[in-house]
């Protein structure tokens, strides 16, 4: 037993050395994670800010000015142009100078005073459909408030019906709060998987793997020695993203660190299993790299990182059941934001352990049986 541990320790030390001895490897394993978590934390937002818009106000009346003042008052929009004619609308949108044009007709005020419905046209550049839809909805609520105010000013009764909204776990519904915990799992998975995939392939390519096979180490021991160092590196990467999430972006953490790390360890184990299986199948590093990407991209797409799993068709939702990234993201989000314990997240942990239980022995078996 002690013998085994000594052998394992030697192999793990050798593996860690071979990755970390090179200064550029150290840099590439730890610096990009930090930079990416900072950058992506800022970019991951669906909230409007600074949306450029143009106005074509043919009415030029105090009422239309009041409506536009309400629009500017939201702070989401920035007026970049005041147009004089309809012919100017197309160029402004085509050239992306403005994301939307608000067009107010010449009879706007008269229509309102006559008790008629006064249309306001909104033309949106839907090349980016998400922003366009959000902008349209925001403008809709600006118009609703405007109508309400006019109604009240003229002695109308206050609205009888109001909606009180509250959100669990993310009070201001900030995209970043969902995105950063997901990155704790995802960012480390990307590089760790590749690290594993390259590890055996590199030894194969350089011919040292055959030497490893003739040592007293059994395939299972080689597998453990190859699996543990990338797991440790992955956990360090996750910790870096966790620190950025907690202390740079100041997103409060509701759950316990112990639960989070148990979950992350299971997640890494599954990732390492997939990586080592790819590695054992590949003859060269180039093959290992390419097969990794072919596996990694669908795993990311079907993970719920950027689009919710619930919005996928049923067949693909079933496909996500073998995807550890899907469970890893769900686990970190729930532990971090919702503060749940192992009693709640075990359904996330079990599938990850199952993936590990299949892939790790497969990799160990392939170490010997791929010899050609």
């Amino acid at each position: 037993m002690i013998d085994l541990l000594l052998r394992l320790r030697a192999l793990i030390a050798k593996e860690l050395l071979s990755v970390l001895k090179d200064p550029s490897s150290r840099v590439i394993l730890f610096l990009p994670v930090l930079l990416q978590s900072l950058l992506f934390g800022y970019v991951a937002t669906y909230d409007l800010a600074n949306v450029p818009y143009a106005v074509l106000d043919l009415s030029r009346s105090p009422t239309s000015a009041a409506l536009l003042a309400k629009l500017d008052g939201t702070g989401f929009f920035r007026r970049v142009a005041t147009l004089q004619s309809q012919a100017e609308i197309a160029p402004v949108i085509d050239l992306q100078q403005a994301l939307m044009v608000v067009q107010i007709g010449p009879r706007f005020e008269q229509q309102l005073l006559a008790g008629e419905t006064a249309p306001v046209q909104l033309i949106l550049d839907a090349r980016n459909s998400t922003t366009a839809a959000t902008a349209a909805a925001t403008l809709g609520s600006v118009v609703d408030t405007f109508n309400q105010d006019q109604w009240l000013q003229r002695g109308g009764a206050a609205p009888a019906l109001a909606l009180q909204t509250r959100a669990w776990f993310n009070p201001n519904l900030e995209t970043r709060w969902n995105f950063m915990p997901a990155l704790i799992a995802t960012l480390s998975m990307l590089q760790t998987l590749l690290l594993c995939a390259l590890s055996v392939a590199r030894e194969r390519e350089q011919g040292t793997f055959d030497q490893l096979l003739v040592t007293p180490l059994s395939p299972m021991e080689i597998m453990a020695g190859k699996a543990i160092p990338p797991m440790l590196i992955g956990l360090v990467q996750s910790t870096l993203v966790l620190l950025v999430t907690r202390f740079w972006f100041q997103i409060p953490m509701a759950g316990s660190l112990a639960t989070l790390y148990i979950g992350l360890a299971a997640f890494m184990l599954a990732g390492v299993g997939i990586g080592l299986s790819i590695s054992a199948l590949s003859a060269t590093m180039q093959q290992a790299e390419r097969y990794t990407f072919v596996i990694l991209l669908p795993m990311m797409m079907l993970s719920g990182l950027s689009t919710p799993v619930a919005a996928m068709p049923r067949a693909l939702q079933i496909a996500t059941l073998v995807n550890p990234v899907r469970f890893g993201i769900d686990l970190v989000r729930r532990v971090y934001l919702e503060g749940v314990g192992l009693a709640t997240v075990w359904p996330d942990i079990v599938p990850m352990l199952l993936v590990a239980a299949v892939t790790l022995p497969t990799a160990a078996w392939l170490f010997r049986h791929r010899l050609t």
Binding site: A49, E116, G156, A160, L161, L173, T175, L190, M285, F293
Partner: protein
Amino acid sequence: MSASPCGGASSSGFWARLLALTRKEFRQLLRDRSSLTIGIALPALLILLFGYGISLDVNHARVAVVMEDASPTAVDVLYGLRLSRYFTPLTVRSMHEAQSLMAAHEVDAILRVPSDFTSTLSAGQGRLQLILLGADAATARVIEAYVNAALAQWSLVNNDREAGRGAVAALAAAAPYGRVALESRMWFNAANTSTWYLVPGLIVLIMTLTGAFLTSLVVAREWERGTLEALFVTPVRPTEILLAKLIPYFAVGMVGFAMCLLAARFLFGVPFVGSLWLLVASSVLYMLVSLGVGLLISSATKNQFIASQMALLTGFLPAMMLSGMLFDLNNVPPAVRFIGLALPATHYLDLVKTLMLAGDVWPIVLKDGSILVAYAAVLLAAARMVTRKRIA
């Protein structure tokens, strides 16, 4: 250029050597199945996933409805919500039950009608409570907007009804005042489906990935194995080596692009408003850019481990996160927007979206096109420089 007396012969030698090298690279490419996997299978897989799996549109959000007051008025207020295709309402008996459903993520929101709803509503103080699951902020916001819109609709109808009954009729008659109505028109994507705007993003992603992943190791592995130094003692020049690496992978990359185009047109029905040749020309440029990124990484690092990590770091996530494919760069802080705008993927995405959805908007085509030309030239020249320096 050439100071040697046999200048003409050397230029014909260039073509002969390039042809020989390219033939060798083609053979190597075809021999290794992984090249075709990444060049053809990966695009096919991503196309299918994107087309059928990935959607940003919220449909059938599950909402638990707690009717503590089940009066006809309350039912009337909620009627609009029940008809909407965006919601799948689920009536539960108690708030407690609803909360445990939401804790288990079985529902995305709880809509509560308090027990005193009818009486407070007739006193002009009606309150409904909406509790959203913040675990997915984007979906939660959409649900909030839909519920608000449905209730506003009810209020409008109800106001008119009240007015008709005479309660406010006197007021309305004394000072008639109209309503502002918003008419939104979505240019370039009338149905506003996320597919139309995700497909250009998909094309950018595939072009970035195949380019970077195909070439990121091809030079580094020759450095590691020493075969590149062996090549240097032959009359072959660095430019010829790089070109020979570029040509076969360019061909594979363009096959992937052709698959994307066909899928976009015939599978997803994305309109091609602009001209096809401009789209192809800009994609040829971008393929050169992304192969250039891979080649530069490969020639500069000379180490397969570093090169593949760099390809992963520069290829996948930045192209998805910072190019405007998922997140609008208008909404991010200026420093981050600046980084996004420095990526060639951002400009290629802008081009593809404009050419597919809006048409040949020449100022945009020229601006983004010249940025891509500059990137391709700089990257390929840099790869060439790095390779030359090491021979001496």
